[in-house]
Chain length 345, copies 3
């Protein structure tokens, strides 16, 4: 059961409630009371768990969970008597049930006396604004926004309804959609890295663009998104960007992209919809990454990537070629260690 | 035209004004009014654009820009009737004109009532200090500095005239020059990563040095620069450091170095003047990187690099050798995939 | 001598005092006054230096230091007349002496009027809480804690005695031990990167775990540690985590681990005690890294690592194999450059 110091349970709910609200098909005791969620091996009789990863196939039959979300084809694996929530996406069923059992705390609207909001800013209804927040002239904060302590909102910035800004984050020169979740310490809209190299002193290139972020995005903790140099930097709706990611000026991300931690995308690169980028990936500037492409963690991308292509390595190549290269170099080194190095003869 | 919510135009200016102020030679209608700047393909009759990259050679003749900054040798490429601003560095001309048309907003001097400045701190004339700023004992803030909301300035810290500190940045144990631009969330002067490993508990090594930053540097958002352990950590004048960069204790950067995002330089490494370091580069500790060296993005440097040397790869080697290695391993893997792997016979 | 604007000397002390307090054996003038510490080549007659790295063997005899910490076996290297502090760990002796000569400034207890502490929070005795700090309901701050300006402490968070939180750091959903040192801008306890991918909009998986941090840890500047998804994210006692490190949800670090800057550990990976992780290392999720393992800087780890194993490369392999691979590929590329590429014939 989640620590009550940090999470508030809204349940228990009956299995029937969970099935109805998550859209799953119910098999078994509709009145079973479910209070929490847990992984297969840790779940107890009041917990919902889920199974979807074949690697855990042997764990399903042993779970003590009261209810299991799983695919219809897997139902025979479940222990006798367990309540089943059947769907084609059991992880999604589990996530929706968890959000029902432990909903995010509802906003307590109110503007702290110790916040600093200029008269020229517009604040929507039912916002929660904590101490130390600064909102500058002509900013427009939508309805039901949360601004965490110490957050800095620059002149003219627009936040859509229901957007949340974590503690000590800063935003300038940006137009941000609805229901965007900006984590603590994120930096959005500062100057891009634009200058003309010159031995007498590099000359700054004024950065005259914005950051445009679509609805429903997640922007991770301490992540940085620079504003455009003239064109805008764009993050499409529904992108999930992890912590400590750097997005350079004029980058365009399509809808639903996933960018894992410590990755960087250099200036003016265009990324299509639903691209998945692993952790610590570097993508050079002025490239095109096609929709649906997948880039393995740690890769360094220095050429365009086609739609749906899977690449890995440094420099990145098609993922199968990378695996072959890795195997070849290992064989070569082993062969040289075992016998005379013919290449040097 | 840049979004007026974020940028204030000071123009239009005549082509003659722009030529004079940027030092370019004017060809064409001296009275043409220029209001903004834009890339070749987006510019219109009131815009200045520029051409310097041969890859865009075919775009020059098609631009609708009223004025074009370009090199004298390229003037034949410009469309008939366009006003020309000729110079040996058209990008620089463009940057200077852009700064003239959209100057950074001038500081509005004033110290917010909700800032926290001890009586033992000295604040220069015409500073702008926002709410939530803390300035501790004996700090010396030069004339015309900007301290963004929530910035933390430690005891004894010195900031030169015209230095800007972004929102929620923190600075301690540091002496910083004039006209330095510290972006939001940057961390300067905290303890270096210094300890004696010990199974009974690693023993902290007191970090008794400082951070010294020269005039005119840029320190990117959420970048971290640790103070020295005894010697100082030094950033030479005119360095441009991007976001999410880590500079370890005792590192010395020469003048005019460029460090792109997510790079890290480990303790005590000495970097010469005008070194260019790509994104996500790692440089091990206690190395010497010669003046004018260039390090490709993603490289891992574990040996000294000579002056003017260009290196790449992990571990980094001369850039040509890295390209050859990349080609060789690709050929080897293809050959093995195509036929029997002779190395294993 | 350290800059008195930033460091306060508590000495000088006699050599006998230093020997006694650090547990070293004294050879020479017990009454020699030592005021500061310095490296071999910079030390003067009132300084303590140390020697332990054989690479500096030639420097020992030339040092002008008044006192030298070194191993008993190295004492013959010291210049005539120098006072010796003999121990098996001279760097540790040096560190302890430095901490004695320049102790961290003692806390000045007090709660700033401009901090924001709810009545439901409990604050231990002798805490120092700076302006702009926010402490939310039911948080428990131990005795003698320091909360730097702008720090954000979430509902229910527990900090052990003597823990220090740097400026503008934020902590939520976390139980933190005693004497933990959290650097400025660190982000602890925010949502992990948990979602179910879905073309209609990725579905958030509620993150219902915590961050548990053991006693005596260091958490670097702008480092991010996400809370668990259900299980907790755990950092064992005595870990040293550098700047700009990302620790994903459900990661478990054992005791005394060292993680250098810009490294990332993906979700659910379990790291044993006293593992040493270099800079810019990436470790994939759901792996096991055995106790005492060492991972070279820049490595990308995608398989389990055994206890005590040393690995390097991308993807990481045993460190010797990596060095052989690096040499082999260099030879191959040179051979191909020198003669006909037989693999392509």
């Amino acid at each position: 059961m989640p620590d009550p110091r940090f999470f508030t349970a809204s349940g228990p709910f009956t299995a029937a409630d969970l099935a109805e609200r998550t859209g799953a098909d119910l098999v078994g005791d509709a009145k079973l009371r479910i209070a929490a969620v847990a992984p297969l091996e840790a779940a107890g009789p009041e917990d919902l768990t889920f199974f979807d990863d074949p690697r855990y196939r042997d764990h399903v039959g042993l779970t003590r969970a009261g209810a299991i979300a799983l695919r219809p084809k897997s139902r025979a694996l479940a222990p006798h008597g367990a309540v089943l929530l059947l769907s084609d996406n059991p992880h999604r069923t589990f996530a929706l049930a968890a959000a029902m059992l432990f909903p995010e705390p509802s906003l307590e609207p109110g503007i702290a006396a110790a916040s600093h909001i200029t008269k020229q800013a517009r604040i929507g209804a039912r916002c929660a604004i904590e101490p130390g927040v600064v909102v500058r002239d002509n900013a427009e904060i939508g309805e039901g926004c949360f601004l965490g302590s110490g957050a800095s909102i620059g002149r003219g910035v627009v936040l859509g309804a229901g957007t949340r800004v974590g503690a000590n984050a800063s935003i300038s020169h940006a137009v941000i959609g609805a229901r965007v979740n900006i984590y603590p310490g994120a930096r959005i809209g500062q100057d891009g890295f634009g200058f003309v190299p010159d031995a007498k002193g590099h000359v700054r290139v004024p950065q005259l663009g914005r950051v445009m972020i679509g609805d429903g995005c997640e922007i991770g903790a301490n992540t940085t998104i620079d504003r455009g140099s003239g064109p805008d930097t764009v993050v499409g709706a529904g992108c999930w960007i992890d912590n400590l990611v750097h997005i350079g000026h004029n980058v365009q991300l399509g809808r639903g992209c996933i960018v894992a931690g410590l990755s960087g995308i250099a200036g003016s690169t265009v990324v299509g919809d639903f691209v998945a980028i692993g952790g610590q990936v570097g993508i050079a500037g002025h490239l095109r990454i096609g929709a649906g492409a997948q880039i393995a963690g740690g890769s360094g991308v220095i050429r365009d990537v086609g739609p749906g292509e899977k690449v890995g390595g440094y420099p990145a190549v098609p993922i199968r070629a990378w695996h072959r290269q890795t195997a070849s170099i290992a064989r070569l080194a082993r062969a040289e260690a075992a016998g005379p190095a013919q290449e040097e003869s």
